[in-house]
Symmetry: C2
Subunit: 457 residues, 2 copies
Amino acid sequence: MADKPSIPKGTRDFNPLEMARRNFIFDTIRKIFKTYGYLPIETPAMENLSSLMGKYGEEGDKLLFKILNSGDFKAKLDAETLHETPAGRLGVLIAEKGLRYDLTVPFARFVVQHRNDIAFPFKRYQIQPVWRADRPQRGRYREFYQCDVDVIGSHSLLNEFELMQIMDEVFTALGLKVVIKLNNRKVLAGIVEVIGEPDRMIDITVAIDKLDKIGMEKVLAELDQKGLSKQSVEKLKPVLEMEGTTSTKLTFLSGYLNQSEIGMEGLMEVDKLFGFLKDHPVDAAVEFDLTLARGLNYYTGTIFEVKSDEVQIGSICGGGRYDNLTGIFGLEGVSGVGVSFGADRIYDVLLQLERFPQEREMDTQLLFVNFGENEANYILSILRRLRSGGIASELYPDPVKMKKQMAYANNRKIPFVALVGEQEMQDGVITLKEMETGNQERLTPAELVERLSNNIS
Amino acid sequence: MADKPSIPKGTRDFNPLEMARRNFIFDTIRKIFKTYGYLPIETPAMENLSSLMGKYGEEGDKLLFKILNSGDFKAKLDAETLHETPAGRLGVLIAEKGLRYDLTVPFARFVVQHRNDIAFPFKRYQIQPVWRADRPQRGRYREFYQCDVDVIGSHSLLNEFELMQIMDEVFTALGLKVVIKLNNRKVLAGIVEVIGEPDRMIDITVAIDKLDKIGMEKVLAELDQKGLSKQSVEKLKPVLEMEGTTSTKLTFLSGYLNQSEIGMEGLMEVDKLFGFLKDHPVDAAVEFDLTLARGLNYYTGTIFEVKSDEVQIGSICGGGRYDNLTGIFGLEGVSGVGVSFGADRIYDVLLQLERFPQEREMDTQLLFVNFGENEANYILSILRRLRSGGIASELYPDPVKMKKQMAYANNRKIPFVALVGEQEMQDGVITLKEMETGNQERLTPAELVERLSNNIS
């Protein structure tokens, strides 16, 4: 026999059990998005490379999967161009399309392209795979699903709070304990303004982040090494030393940021969100976390990140407010806020904690053993009644040995097996066997439908 | 402003209304697949090109979207190779992966790769997009969805009949009148055997197919031109002249194919399926149609095709039995049968006939007008009750002019608007306005939940 076929590294097949588990996640998320009034959209797997390039930084461009132009893709290129042009630049000459890298840029493109048909504020969700030519490793795939929910065209902080409620409700429904971490880019902007280093936002958040791991002394040394003045570092020290509850931190910062307009604005936003939380508590823990610095190149206000409280894994959900996402496609001044759920990491957490529900509602409930043509023909009528009653049921297609048919029922974890032989046909009954207990009952077709309806409801 | 962004030709964005309509199709199909005991799988969008090339004929190879290797894809190629190698062959040197072209080949690959973990007979369904670099035109896209259902590992004709029941049930549930056309490759093999032209199966089915359009004389001339002997053509004539009901045709053929073992076997299979139909009738018309010749290169028995009885469009579903699909990946002798529903064509038919259901169950039922911070905060508690009762509801995020908020409700087709001002907050009530009638009622939060629960159920 030939070698076993395989699939590209970093991609996966999903078998029926994995599908049931994944759908548990997607269905839970989708249902909650809907009750909050978000509407689904989908965009093509392929986007024009011109829509994607330059949107994810230089590193991101390298991780885009490019699709070779159809036909004679090199017709217009001479030997020298083909040979001398570096692969990165040549790629763009022979590939006009690429696979989407996330759902955010296609969403921005969608909003700009269809802006005349959209009722703003536009509340949309999108659950689709994305592709990245990352080096595959445990928990990192080249094809994975994102579940994005965004509202665009409104500045109100009610949107941020709504997203916090959604994150909370999703993880509660999935049975996971999480911490929602919250930061605000304006607060960070205020801090760097106060210490007089407005361009060092990232260095400083990195420093704050490392505090727990390497200690104050080393952090200060690192900042010094990065060229921050002694004076700036001195001014930053109280922020690094800040401890206590969210409320304590906010009180401290309201004094510290006193002279920074943008800082105070950010602080007011954070304060307002915690105010909403006080009046309308959520199950998840919510923490103000100055080290949260994801997406600083496009987030302009609130930043979110969700971490599992039970499993050590990166963030399982995150997002924030962006005041100018559609600007990259020429439509300025449309503010939005959104979060993205990482379905694959959530899957890994649920699997590790064994939290997937056991029931697989729509799976086959009943297998009829096949004893031959006459019996099969008789059973087809009963099957019709069962199926129209919503009971997933099967007739084994071949009249093979009983043992083989029972093994199939076992492998498929089908809870009931029905036996209809000559005697049963004569008496107009079915012998129903419950696989777990071995109990058998003789039932009329009507009784059978009722028995199994009760079982699935 | 910059040029409006766009998407690659032949691809589409789907807005919320289109998504609701598409999901109506997918949900209907999926639900029926499940009641028959089929299980879902998914495969990656990208397959190794070696799994795809050569599986769809030479034309098919050209229609595969190839994905440029990441990194320095041309590192090992010298200038001459780059320039002199024709695009088709060079493509394979710089692209190892391709987008899946259908769901059948990935399914075969899946079965072979995971054969030790699969319980046979394996009943699977798969609903995913496929990509083809076809020239886009009305009703033909470069990205479109297929909904495949197959059972593999059983020779029983009960499987064929089950698929006919599924096709019938799906189109009945979608509210479409269809004709299920049925043929059998063995019958065709029998005919060419009888006339002594075993290698001319395709020429002869094409000839039969053209009979209606160009008439007997021209068909005979064409067969002559294609090099069939006078004797063969003479022997074929009775088949071309065959008329009447399915039953008449089968009776005629049982005489005609008398000396062909394979022909009689095929006839027996067709006969058996019509026998099942007699005992277990379906809503759709079922026709025996000798001109059905789709997929003759891999189908080995029954061939199916479904056409709309109301709209002129190509086939909207089709499939058949293949005795050696997994043979392409080295696993011989595993017989299967399956059909594929063309979701995009079904969409076009439903749209043209205006058969999409009006209700959009999970859409927002209720919009709260936003009068300001205090009211908003008060409403958040009511929203929580509504949403946990499964009622999709929203608070307009900004306290803008009433007119703008009402316009949003109109655009989104939200049936109810709720007004909560100072007076309502004092009285502990909500003023509910039904948009269609303009009727207003004052309700307590509990009454509101009940009122809207009744409305959606």
